[in-house]
């Protein structure tokens, strides 16, 4: 029994029955399949997180965001006063996280690629794009750059899903995806 010492002193020589051996083999192979699927997806899959990251100070990132707004603002989001920005397709777009908002609202064109830069100005935040359900972690002092291609038009929400203090549940943002014109 499992609560007593094994009887045979040399228990590691006892034969293992076939059922167990087969299961071990199956489970081992399955592990390899899962392992190589991740690698395989990097070559054939379209959803792989970028490895591009830069160290950046909050001030420097904030300046980049402001420059983009300056150049490409097309309006304001409802009566929130938050700028809506429409940078050209295939360009660099920026979204910052801070207590407690995602800023600014981005307007992107369906089917075009954008280099999206994400960073926080203060605490850690969780970029959660709904209803796509794409989730990324956003740190202060790290600028993550990923290339994203919106494939559906519509209004998408960004919520924060990393706890960031008392206003966490009010922290929202928006990405608008429009058809090509």
């Amino acid at each position: 029994m499992a609560i007593f010492p094994p009887k045979a002193r040399v228990w590691w020589n006892e034969p293992v029955q076939k059922t167990e051996l087969i299961w071990i083999a199956v489970a081992f192979v399955w592990g390899l399949v899962m392992f190589f699927t991740m690698i395989f997806w990097h070559s054939v899959g379209e959803q792989n997180l970028s490895n591009e990251t830069y160290k950046i100070s909050p001030e420097a990132f904030s300046a980049k965001v402001d420059a983009m707004i300056e150049q490409y603002q097309v309006g304001e989001e409802g009566d929130t006063g938050i700028p809506v920005v429409r940078p050209p397709a295939d360009s660099d777009v920026y979204m910052l996280a801070r207590l407690w908002e995602w800023y600014p609202v981005l307007e992107l064109e369906k089917g075009r690629k954008y280099r999206l830069h994400l960073a926080s100005l203060d605490w850690q935040h969780g970029f959660s794009l709904q209803p796509e359900n794409i989730n990324l972690q956003v740190h202060p002092n790290y600028e993550m750059v990923l290339t994203v291609e919106p494939t559906t038009a519509g209004v998408f929400s960004v919520v924060c899903n990393e706890f960031c203090g008392i206003g966490h549940h009010q922290m929202v943002g928006r990405i608008r995806v429009v058809e090509n014109q």
């Binding site: 690698i39 959660s128 549940h169 009010q170």
Partner: protein
Amino acid sequence: MATAADFRICNHTGLKVYATTESLIKANAVAAVVSLAVGGLLGLLVALTRWPAVHLLPAETFYQVLTAHGTDVLLLWILFFEVAVLYFASSVLLGCRLAMPKVAWLAFILMVGGGILANIAILQGNSSVMFTSYPPMQADPNFYLGLIVFAVGALVAVFVFFGTLVVAKDEKTYQGSVPLVTFGAITAAIIAVFTIASGAVILIPTYFWSLGWLANIDTLIYKIVWWGMGHSSQQINVSAHVAVWYAIAALVLGAKPLSEKVSRAAFLLYILFLQLASAHHLLVEPGVSSEWKIFNTSYAMYLAVLGSMIHGMTVPGSIEAAQRRKGLNKGLFEWLRKAPWDNPAFSGMFMSLVMFGFLGGISGVVMGTEQINLIMHNTIYVPGHFHATVVTGTTLAFMAVTYLLIPLIFRRQIMMKKLAQWQPYLFGLGAMGISLFMMGAGTLGVPRRHWDITFADAAMSIDLPATAFLMMGLNGLSAILAAIGGVVFIIIVVASVFFGKKMEKDTVMWPKLANIKEEAAAVATYGSEEHAKIPGTVVLVAVFFVSFVLYYFINWKYLAEVWPLR
């Protein structure tokens, strides 16, 4: 050296029990159950707040309660109980004295003191930073200090355990190798050393930072090292509750491992590979390469998962073999149908086994896949997953073994036996609901640690799908069911320990045990369960495997439907 008078021979199991060990097991078990009662109640408040139609607590209290819930159940309840398991698996199973009893008491005092300090810090309201306390969000220094003191206490207890192993070897209280259950406990203890060291490496600087002695904590490095503690501590749970599964199967059914070699090798895989799991929390992080993520999140090609899958066959397999040996040989499943389902130690253990594998294990591997994590990270799917592992897995297993601990160690009869028979089902079903509905809500985008998914006070309106709200409601209902199961558990434990009739020499043991003394004599004539046929287990494992494969690839399909990104 201890004299014979310091020991008693348990007349139900034949085990030699050292008096000081018994007191320490009791003390740690009591502290564990108190933490569970407090933390569990807080968990109910969390679930009722996240039920949109109820929305019980105000925001500030909610985040405070959530922080305390995580700390009290994930840390205090589990670790106190694990210390009790370690003392049992060393001193009691090896029939030796406990090494350094005074140090063991010191460990206990440190753990209690640290736990109380952390709780006070949370209660004061300046430490609602969640269990993970990611910087630059800062808690009160006492929050970190409390956790450090608690961890030091746990580390000291682990060394008492190691010392006890040396004592047993030295005083030759057993022959040959340690029992499998002790081997599992050693696995847990080794992982604990790594875990607590990681905790010290990150929490001590963080404590200095909170005091103003350090200017800055790097958020990414904090996370990598913190999860060396945070996730590895859950691997202690896995090793400990798998050891508890084997122990209950042995005590209640007289089950023997199908093969000592295979079961021990599976534990060995845990020691070698489980610690890589820090990566599971960094899969969508900036600044960490894909190569690092893939290698670590897969525990080096899933070798630790392999360990769990092996236990997933050998535990039910050993039960099937033991039952068939008793003549329950009809068809595929007579052994399971006629298992002692009215014995709470068995029913709790078996549900723990099934739900840990099907719900916790599969969801963990899927969520821990580098790319699939993109559609799950930090959604409420994550708590769904770990409630399946820590609640339906660890907590249910520990509850089950408590029904044996009370008569055997506290030497009190279990009171309210009818209620006790139902308790594991109430709690297990509730916990299963919590896990499933949170996972469901997570796939629909519900964020974790979030006070208001209606976003009523937010600058822009957001509508999550109605199904998500339904799921959160069902989660609340399940939490009520689990809480009832939890309260019943606490009532039975408290009543039995304080008011239960004493176990006398001729008291009939309830829950019923296998005839251990006879089995122990019989065990002297055979080692591992030889050539036992376990067709029922093969079917169960096949069902598990098919579910695993299907669920895994379904999630790749979901991933393939979201916006391309790289």
